[in-house]
Amino acid sequence: MSEKLLSIDDVRVTFPHDKFEKFHAVNGVSLEVEPGETLGIVGESGSGKTMLALSMMGLVPRPGIVDGGNIHLLGQPIDRLSEKQLSTIRGRDVGMVFQDPMTGLNPVRKVGSLLIESIQRHRSRSRAEARDLALNTFIEVGIPSPEVRLDSYPHQLSGGLRQRVMIALALVNHPPLIIADEPTTALDATIQAQILELLKVKLSKSALILITHDLGVAAEICDRVAVMYHGKIMELGFMNDVLDNPAHPYTAGLLAAAPRFDWNRPDLEPIPGSPPEAGSIVPGCAFKPRCGFASPACEDAPNMKISSYRELACHHPLFEEFSDGY
């Protein structure tokens, strides 16, 4: 257990709600992250991937709670620590890059001062030393004229630069785990590529969890990928394997629907139907109504089948090896 960097076991995240009794954002997710690996979590909006990410840092916004399961980061039980204890861990053991750099930076603070604050919070350094470290981090993430930029305000920076600042903020203290939630979605395509490249190269020593709705983006930099649907993981495995041989009908559907120049898909085939209402509890397999392979067995929620390199939640995997188990 303690060798794993991050270990999540059957985590649920819920919100109080008047329509249903509870809004279920995450419905029982288990995964593990090894030091240094890059894991992608791919899912549509409403699949719960953001809430899952936030729960890993104890940042689930009120009134939401982690309603079940365990989260262990470097052996520490994240879901059971106080805010004060968590504030020591955040920024030091784990860092997060958020989606929208426009609103994610304080408009009345110089961006350098945020990094300096983080450095002085977690390591005892003088202000001058902290400033040097911040400068180095700016150089690392490829911000031009870094000396000058330390004293810039967010409104003086372009979107791409702002996102680099957010990344700098997440890795300035070299945490062993970085979580990036849709880090490129708000950016132009050319900048997207640069940022992804940055993440791939700079985070070779840290583990990275990349949250995205875009399987292609995940394919660029992730070693392993987990496919999420309606609050649960449907499939989890090595990136290339999953791309070449998807085992879950949903994963196959995603691949068929994704326009990509480098894969061999002659026609786009959207997945018929739409996802169940966000937050609801669906008996059995949540994907059943849209699945071409559904059968009466799918009325019961499928258990995770685990092989040596893949995890799967399906009664009808797309290739045989799973039917017999491991």
């Binding site: 919100f15 109080p16 008047d18 809004f23 954002a25 909006s45």
Partner: protein
């Protein structure tokens, strides 16, 4: 994450009047009943008193709220102040609201010299301390109900105008107004039938707070000797008179003070209550 969370904050989808509105509303109705039934609740002459009974403290004997330096019953006097204070505030508010709303609508209707002139007037009047001008005007034209009410109304219409102007501009961007214009509906009609109803919640809130402000302004001016005729039993006058006797008879100050505070807090509750109710109605529609 963006789409999910706002929905979760809706407490209920029906419009439920905010608690402040309920409390404020009940208090307001009570005050109105007391005002209208003044002769029933507080018979007796507020202007004369038994000099032998001067400075009687509260809750002793037959004078529930005590007497003042001339032996006048404070209970009767405080009731006598109601119609005066509420009356002036009413008239001033009505003047300010009608003039201000019209000015705001006219200014919002289309750009041009009229809009510029109105906006300049509004900026000019709002920038200056109102009490100072009011003092000068009352000094020049004399005291009394109507001078006070009209002066206060004339000095405060810009507050309505400014808010109405801004909101009307926004409302006029909406499609139903553009549609009406295309249909050739005359402008006066559009303003009155289409834009004005959209302003109703804001105007109601402003009304409540403005009424309270007018009440306070009237008492302040009377306190300074520039409002009601000097012998009239208004709360401002009572406060002014009480200054000399704070040592002997503190209740002379407390009674009118409490009356003012109660009415103002009631109005503030109503104002906040309306604001909260219309806000939650807007959210429930989502």
């Amino acid at each position: 994450m963006s789409g999910l969370l706002p929905r979760l904050r809706i407490a209920s989808k029906h419009r439920r009047p905010d608690i402040q509105l309920i409390i404020g509303g009940l208090a307001c109705i009570t005050i109105l009943i007391l005002t209208i039934g003044k002769d029933f609740f507080a018979p007796g002459d507020p202007l004369s008193g038994d000099i032998m009974d001067r400075f009687k403290p509260m809750f002793e004997g037959k004078y529930v709220l005590g007497t003042d330096q001339l032996g006048r019953d404070l209970w009767t006097r405080v009731f006598a102040g109601l119609p005066w204070s509420l009356g002036i505030a009413c008239v001033a508010t009505l003047i300010a609201m009608t003039v201000g709303t019209s000015a705001g609508l006219i200014a919002a209707w289309k750009p041009g010299p009229v809009r510029t002139v109105i906006n300049r007037m509004v900026d000019t009047i709002i920038a200056f301390p109102g009490l100072v001008i009011a003092i000068c005007i009352i000094a020049a034209i004399g005291r009394g109900f109507w001078p006070l009410a009209i002066t206060l109304g004339v000095l405060t219409w810009p507050f309505y105008a400014r808010v109405v102007y801004a909101e009307a501009l926004g409302l006029m961007e909406r499609n139903y107004v553009l549609a009406a214009q295309l249909y050739g509906v005359p402008s006066r009609w559009i303003l009155i039938r289409h834009v004005l109803p959209g302003l109703r919640p804001t105007l109601l809130v402003m009304l409540a707070f403005h009424f309270a402000d007018m009440l306070i302004a009237e008492s302040a001016l009377s306190f300074l000797g520039l409002g009601a005729p000097l012998q009239a039993p208004t709360w401002g006058n009572m406060l002014a008179e009480s200054r000399q006797y704070l040592f002997n008879a503190p209740w002379m100050m407390l009674v009118p003070a409490a009356a003012i505070v109660v009415v103002v807090v009631t109005l503030n509750l109503i104002g906040d209550g309306i604001a909260a109710t219309t806000r939650s109605k807007a959210r429930a529609v989502e």
